[in-house]
Structure formats: C-alpha cells, structure tokens
C-alpha cells in the first residue's frame, strides 16, 4: 500500500500539490493544512495531483472542497489532475464531481492557469 504523502511544488502562476496513499480522517487535516497554507499566502491557483491516491473518505473530500471554495472566493481555482479511479468514484458518489475542473494529465492541468 502507498503511504500517505503530500508534496507541494511552486511555479510562477500555480502551485502543484501532489497527494499519495490513503486519505482519511487520520490524515485529512494534513492535506487541509497544506492547502490552507497556500491560500493564506495568497496562492490561489492550485493543481491537485490525485493520481496516486488509493482511497479518499469524506474527511479528505472536505479538505479539498474547502480549499476549492476558498480559492474561488479569492479569484483563483483548484483543479484536479488525473484523479485516480477511487477518487473519481467517491467524487461521483458524493455528487461533488461537477464542481471540479479535471484534467487527464499534469501538463494540461498546470498549463490551464
């Protein structure tokens, strides 16, 4: 099983947040902190690479949705890059899938800003 990990890479106009492993109530606060830290520093254009996420519960979704709402409020956006099959499924089950702009690969997601 892939261990939970978060990596943040900053570019000129966008920040790339890569998440891996299982995202649940034991670690969703770490994802929330990473995303809120960007937003607090007025970095409102965020690409979230979820290709390596093996599982995401509602706790993870809440962190992502909260950042989406905040970024849009500040004139930016949070876009998803190649979400894994399990992430897509939980987005679909929750009804949140229509709220996100999704890209099949990282290059297009980063280039969209």
């Amino acid at each position: 099983m892939t261990n939970f990990a978060i990596n943040v890479e900053s570019f000129k106009r966008v920040d790339l947040v890569t998440v891996a492993g299982r995202v649940d109530s034991s670690n969703a606060s770490e994802l929330d902190t990473a995303l809120q830290s960007l937003l607090d520093n007025n970095r409102n254009n965020i690409v979230l690479d979820l290709s390596q996420v093996t599982y995401m519960s509602s706790a993870g979704l809440r962190a992502v949705v909260s950042a989406l709402r905040e970024s849009k409020k500040n004139g930016g956006d949070l876009r998803l890059a190649s979400p894994s099959e399990r992430v897509l499924e939980v987005l679909e089950l929750s009804g949140l899938n229509t709220l996100f702009e999704k890209f099949d690969d990282l290059t297009h997601a980063v280039g969209s800003f």
Binding site: D24, S25, S26, S58, R62, E89, L93
Partner: protein, 162 residues
C-alpha cells in the same frame, strides 16, 4: 450457514484503517469484487469516523466494537460504541450544487452518512443501554451460474484394470 467474526479497537482515527482491514477480510470471504470491497471500506471508515467524532467527541474516549457476518445473502457489519447517543435524523443532509458558480451554497455536513447510505443496501442505527449500534448490510454478489453441460458423449466402455 453463517460466518461471524468480532473484535474491538480503541476509538482512534489512526486505527480506522485497521478496523476496516478487519472488515475487508470478511468482504473478501463474502466474494465481493474490488468495487464493492472499496464501498465496504468507505462505509466502515465513515461509520468509525462518526463514532469517534460524534459519539465519543474525540479520540481515545472509548472503544469501537466491530463485527462482520455473512448470513443468508448478506454481508452485515455491526459497529457498537459506548458513547453519547447519535441521532442520524439530526444530521443535516449535504447541500451540493451542480453548478460550480453556486459553490457558496455548498454544505458538506452529513457527507459521511450520505456516503454510507449510498454504498450499502441498508444502514440502521439504534441506541440502547450500552450505547449506539449501527448495522450496515450489503447484499452478496450473485453466485455465477454453473456452466452449461456439454452434450452427453457416448459412454466409454468400462474396462477393468488388471
């Protein structure tokens, strides 16, 4: 015939993965495919999170008693806690707009309960003298039909081995 396993874990977020692994061993015995197994995992995770958040008001305030059972055509997960009464009717339903422009209307409270009900065939809560009990049921996958028999071949003549 029925198969049942039970165990108990401290109510701690970092142990939810282990609780769900215990349940998933039963899901594997039940013959669920990877998609259904993922759904069982999700329901178990959300139910345990609810117990820690709402019944115990935080971590390390009590134990989670968990069991799974394969009975008749169902896989049944039972989670029991000794915490505060949990009333699912008091949990608001999530408000999720379909238009991204209306994201300010988004309210994700109750999302966990919503997901539990989405992925399981039945979710039932009750509160008794010993605490909260949530029983989640998922129908077992249909058994694959037996392959049609090939046309009967002429019976070979039996030979006695010498």
């Amino acid at each position: 015939m029925s198969r049942k396993r039970s165990t108990v874990f401290p109510g701690r977020y970092e142990l939810i993965g282990q609780i769900c692994d215990f349940v998933l061993a039963g899901a594997s015995e039940a013959g669920f495919d990877p998609d259904a197994t993922f759904q069982v995992n999700l329901a178990c995770d959300e139910a345990c999170t609810n117990i820690i958040e709402h019944a115990y008001n935080g971590e390390d305030n009590g134990e989670i008693f968990v069991s799974w059972e394969i009975r008749d055509n169902s896989f049944i997960i039972t989670l029991h806690d000794n915490g505060e009464p949990f009333d699912p009717a008091a949990v608001p339903k999530p408000v999720i707009p379909t238009d991204p422009a209306q994201i300010n209307q988004l309210q994700v409270g109750g999302l966990g309960l919503h997901l539990m009900r989405k992925v399981m065939d039945d979710v039932h809560f009750r509160f008794d003298d010993n605490g909260n009990v949530v029983i989640m049921t998922k129908r077992l996958p249909p058994r694959s039909a037996p392959a049609p028999r090939p046309p009967a071949a002429p019976a070979p003549q039996e030979q006695e081995e010498t």
